[in-house]
Each structure stands twice: as C-alpha cells, then as structure tokens.
C-alpha cells in the first residue's frame, strides 16, 4: 500500500473512533449525573474499607501507608466496574435498534469497538479526578509530576479498553441481557480479588499468585501504584505493565471487531 493511502486510512480510522467516543461524551453531557453516582462506590472503599484496614498491622505494602497502597487499586477497580458493564449497553442498544444502523454504515467494526473503549476510558478519567481529590483529602501523598500523570492517563485508558472490549465480546457471545448479567457477575469478583488491587500479591497462596499474574488488572494496578504515589514502585516494571496492557487491548479489539456484528444477528 502506498504511504499516503496508508496514512489516510489511519487518519480515517482514528476519525471514526473519535466520532463514536464523541457520541458517548455528548450523551454524558446531557446526563452528567451518572458520573457522580459512579463515584460513590470508590469513595466508600477508600473512606470505610481503607480506614479500617489501615489499622491492620503487618500488611507488606513496601513501606507505604495502607490507604496510599489502596488508592491506585481503587482507581483500577472503579475503571473495571465501569468497563465490565459496557456489554449490557451494547445489548441495550441492539434491543433499541441503534446498533443495526451503525453496523450498516461504512464504519470499520474495530473503530466502533475502540470508540466505545475510549469512551469507557474517558469515564474512567473522570473517576480518576474524583479519586485524586478524595485521596488528597485522606492524606495520601500523590505525585503530580506531569509525566507520571500522563502515565496514569494511559494506564486508565488501556485498562478501560481491555475490560470494556472483553465485556463487549461476552455480550456478542451471549446476546441476552439476562445471560450477560449472569456471566459478568461471575467474572467481576475473581478479576478484582485475584489481583494486587487491595492487598499485596505476597499475601496470596501460590496458586492465587499465579492467577493474579495472568490477570491484566494486576498490570494496570502495578503501573498506577508506581505513578500515582510519591515513593511508589513497580513490581513488574513499567515497560512490562504497558506492554501487557497494550498487547491484550490490541488482541481484544481485533476479536471484538470480528464478533461485534454477531450482536445484531
């Protein structure tokens, strides 16, 4: 393919992706209340769970106060909970008839999927702002280095892409709201608890440590923990974190694009 054609193709794809994300942002602008109701859950985790567990001695947090250790985990959890229910929105849009028109338009399927993922990421970033504010109030020492903040934005967007696209794939496979709710309820707690989000992996029995290493959420939390906190460190290495999240995102978006049309059948 000649270079200009390739460039136009990429620009076109990016344009379509942004249009789908724009659609979701416009919806949120008409109904912003959802953004704030979503913030209640992470606030409860930080204020109640965090305050109690701060009193438990001997959690190997690598020298951090427990509430600081917990903060990146709660941001990741908040993004996970937003993203994992994206599939239900897909089924809802199919039932309304909206999906059919998008699928019959010349929009690449991967752009439809990635646009949804991007909008999940934007919702996640709103949560990040709220969580930063709450954590600051709770006395967490947050890093405001611009490069660190940029890394947090990337980790939130990638995590949202992984889990919203995963959710979309489940929706495309099970097709009904009832089945989707069943499957996502079964998945969400293992994803959350079999990760390093609320306790160090070192506390886990060996078999659970293995599972947590296979869980993309762990890599998102690891990156967030290194970048959000003053004195935060990465256990796996930031390069590994972003490589894993990017690779999983790419694979899921590819398959999501393949499977998405099935929702409409």
């Amino acid at each position: 393919m000649p270079l200009p054609t390739l460039f136009l193709g990429i620009a076109g794809f990016a344009g379509k992706t942004l249009t789908i994300a724009e659609l979701e942002v416009r919806k949120l602008r008409h109904e912003p209340i959802e953004l704030f109701s979503r913030a209640v859950q992470p606030a409860l985790w930080l204020v109640i769970f965090g305050q109690v567990f701060t009193r438990v001695p001997g959690i190997p947090t690598g020298g951090l106060p427990y509430i600081s250790f917990l903060t990146p985990g709660i941001l990741a959890q908040s993004v996970l909970f937003i993203a994992i229910f994206y599939g239900i929105a897909i089924i809802w849009e199919r039932d309304l008839g909206i999906t059919y028109k998008f699928l019959a338009s010349p929009t690449p399927r991967e752009a439809l999927v990635l646009g949804k993922a991007l909008s999940a990421g934007l919702r996640g970033l709103v949560q990040a702002v709220i969580i930063y504010a709450l954590a600051a109030l709770l006395g967490v020492a947050l890093s405001l280095d611009p490069l660190h903040l940029l890394g947090v934005v990337a980790a939130v967007l990638l995590g949202a892409t992984v889990f919203s696209t995963f959710s979309l794939i489940i929706a495309a496979l099970v097709k009904t709201r009832e089945a989707f709710m069943g499957v996502s309820q079964v998945l969400i707690f293992p994803l959350f608890f079999a990760s390093n989000a609320i306790y160090p992996v070192a506390l886990m029995p060996p078999w659970l440590q293995v599972i947590s290493r296979l869980n993309p959420l762990s890599y998102q939390v690891d990156a967030l923990r290194a970048l959000m906190l003053v004195g935060g460190t990465s256990s796996y290495g930031l390069a590994v974190d972003y490589a894993v999240l990017s690779a999983v995102s790419a694979v899921l978006v590819f398959y999501g694009g393949r499977l998405y049309p099935r929702v409409a059948v």
Partner: protein, 264 residues
C-alpha cells in the same frame, strides 16, 4: 437498469428456512415493497441486503456490489432505517445527524449545510436542538430517514417505516418517501404489512409468505389478476390461503410492542 438484484437468496436458522430462494430485480428509481405478515421473512431479506446477515446460499448485488464479497462498498451506497427505533433518544436531533454525517465522511465544510437541509426537508428545524426523547413517533421516524439520507445514497432500505404510527404521522412519512424519490431519484425498498401502504407507495410489490415470494408485480396488476374490485388484501389472502398468523414469536412481538410504546 436493475440497481438491486437478488439471485436465490436463502437464509436458514437451524431447521427454519426464513428466506427461501428470494429472486428479484429492482429498477433504479422504483419504490419496491416487500409485503407479508410477521415472520414472512421480509426483515431477514433486508438484513441480508444491508450486509448485517450473511446469506446461507444465493447472492445479491446492490448498485453493482456483491453483498458478501464487497460488503464495505455496499455500506457506502445504501441508507438503512431498521424496524426498531434507531435514533438515539439521549441526544438531540441535530447530534444524531452530526454523528452520522461524520461516520459517512461528509466533508466538514458541507456538514452543517447538509444537516440543516435534511432537518428542513423532514420538517424538524424547530426541534433540532431538543432531545429526541421529547419527539413524537412521526418525528423520530422522519429523523431516522433524514439520518439515512444524509450521504444521498442511491438505494434506501426502510424496514416497516410506519409501524406503530398514527394515521397523520403515517401520511407525513409517506409524503417524504414520495418526495425523496422525486427529488433525488432514490431507489427505495421498503417492507410493510399494511396493504394500503404498499398500494399507495409502491411501483411494484412482492408478496412474501413463509419465506417465499408468492406473487410479484404492480399493485394494479396483482389486483386485476385476482378479480374485479379486488383490494391488495384480497390479493394477499388469495396467494396465502388466509393464514395471516404465520409466525413472529414472543421475541418479535415483544420488540414490536416496545417500538410502538416508545412511539407513543
């Protein structure tokens, strides 16, 4: 010249043959109607032609492009209004059009002009910046047709465009369909189970029953074939033996009811 041709288009769902050897040639500029009860296979035909569903066998071409091998090209030259309500109720009418103007690559410089003229044409100018949630059923349908026409497609597919609408709203949708054909020469393929709709709008109709075309021709021809003073309803009963309760099923009934409820 045939702008849409189907050859033995067939779709099976397990044991069920939803569409059985559907063969037609639709001429450019025609308003072609697919008529039949729920479950006759009309929507399945449309879904195959707009590339949402692959045929089990047979093939079709739209504006010269193969619906399976050249699906991406087909999507550029068609407009499609699904049976269920497809406008986004949580956006304004203008935003609904804007998103589709972008998805169809309408150049930035022309976008606003194109959207405004579509809103004017469909009589929606005053409501452009209100949320679609506040629209009446007829307004939503007109908005959806405007959406599907923004890129001036040569072929337009309308699946049950007037289901659930009151008579006044139905008249207004019919009037716009007629104007579109006149002003833009758009070829229109629509499905309906209202015989009077097919009679007044369509140059030709195909009557479908249990997945097959049982009669095809101009409404006047079909009526004359059955007897003096016959209506299209009589033609339908003549060809199907009066088994109007052919199918549909719970899910389809649920969807149709929900659509009519949202249309108010």
């Amino acid at each position: 010249m045939a702008i849409l041709e189907a050859w033995s288009l067939t779709r099976r769902f397990g044991e069920l043959v939803a569409v059985d050897a559907f063969t037609v040639a639709v001429q450019a500029g025609e308003v072609f109607g697919l008529v039949g009860p729920n479950g006759a296979g009309k929507t399945t035909v449309i879904k195959m032609l707009v590339t949402l569903l692959e045929p089990s066998s047979g093939t079709a071409q739209v504006a010269g492009y193969d619906i399976v091998g050249q699906a991406a090209q087909v999507r550029r030259v068609i407009g499609y209004v699904p049976q269920a309500l497809s406008a986004d109720a949580t956006l304004t009418g203008y935003e609904n059009l804007l998103i589709f103007a972008k998805l169809y690559d309408i150049p930035r410089a022309e976008r606003d002009q194109r959207i405004r003229s579509a809103l004017d044409f469909m009589g929606l100018r005053e409501s452009a910046h209100k949320l679609v949630r506040t629209y009446s059923g007829g307004m939503i349908r007109r908005l959806e047709i405007a959406q599907s026409m923004l890129h001036r497609p040569p072929v337009l597919f309308l699946d049950e465009p007037t289901v659930g609408l009151d008579p006044v709203a139905r008249q207004s949708v019919w009037a716009r369909i007629g104007e579109m054909r006149r002003d833009y020469g758009t070829t229109i393929l629509l499905t309906t189970h209202y015989m009077e709709e097919a009679d007044s709008l369509c140059s030709r109709v195909a009557i479908m029953h249990l997945g097959r075309i049982v009669a095809l021709g101009a409404p006047a021809e079909l009526k004359a074939g059955v007897g003096e003073g016959a209506t299209l309803d009589d033609v339908f009963v003549h060809h199907t033996g009066g088994e109007v309760e052919a199918g549909g099923g719970y899910r389809e009934a649920e969807r149709a009811r929900r659509t009519s409820r949202r249309l108010g």
